[in-house]
């Protein structure tokens, strides 16, 4: 059986970090089927490209959800651009959401910051309940696990927007 006929309607959401990207695959609004954090220290782009392609080969998702990346610079901009390009080449639907669009979805439950949104996701999705990232402060860097929740927020935004439209 070909990979294309194996899975249908899966949504892949990815969010870049300083060393890689967090990703989540959903089959429904509250139904994640797989997730992870990809990172590479050396040959960063090459390894992350391969990781992303393996994900697409394995799950054949129908949709890729990303956060607006045009105002990003350097490696994370290149990474997002590459993800979007590969997804489009495979005929996937690509959706890019701005921060205000994501905040609008989670604003109804009073969550605005990335950490607050992660808290909401943790309470809504049991599979993520034990993966809560530590809070970012002035002296503590962002937890890589935050990227997982950022990606989940993108997928949930996609479901919310597509349901309302």
């Amino acid at each position: 059986m070909s990979a294309a006929s194996r899975y249908k309607g899966l949504v892949l959401a990815a969010h870049p970090t300083s060393r890689g990207f967090g990703w989540v695959i959903f089959e429904g609004p509250l139904a994640p089927v797989d997730w992870g954090i990809a990172f590479a220290k050396r040959a960063r782009n090459q390894r992350l490209f391969k990781r992303f392609e393996r994900l697409l080969q394995r799950y054949e998702p129908a949709v890729l959800a990303l956060e607006h990346f045009e105002n990003r610079t350097g490696a994370s901009h290149r990474l997002c651009r590459m993800m979007k390009h590969i997804a489009e080449c495979r005929g996937m639907e690509t959706q890019v959401f701005t921060r205000p669009a994501i905040q609008a979805v989670f604003g109804s439950v009073g969550a605005k910051t990335r950490y607050e949104i992660a808290e909401v996701i943790r309470t809504q999705i049991d599979a993520f309940s034990h993966r809560m990232p530590r809070k970012r402060t002035l002296i503590v860097n962002a937890d890589p696990k935050q990227a997982l929740f950022d990606a989940a927020a993108l997928a949930l935004t996609y479901f919310s927007v597509s349901r309302s439209s």
Binding site: K8, G9, E27, P32, A127
Partner: protein, 114 residues
Amino acid sequence: MPHKSLRTYLRARRREWGLSQDELAELVGTHGSVISDYEREIHLISIRMLIAAELIFGVTGTDLFPALYRDIQEEVCIAAGRLYARLEGRTDPHSIKKMRLISGIPGRIKPFDV
């Protein structure tokens, strides 16, 4: 039967509960590499794995391995049709009993959308 996107939900359930492949293998009584093979559908799952997974995750085999159940149902249905065709026309009690069993199979099929 709700819509299913994946052929197997073993990996999804394992990760949902934060179990590593080795930990699940320990519960099932096998090796982590075997769990990896089951998750990637390299090997067909064993009866032991099926029963253990139902017990561990508290869901039915059809929820965990929808495509496997659907594939087996299809194969059994086709084979049943072949056997029924061979028995048709026979009037001995044995054949009539077998045909009664086989004709009940379509009614026992569960719908799958994988």
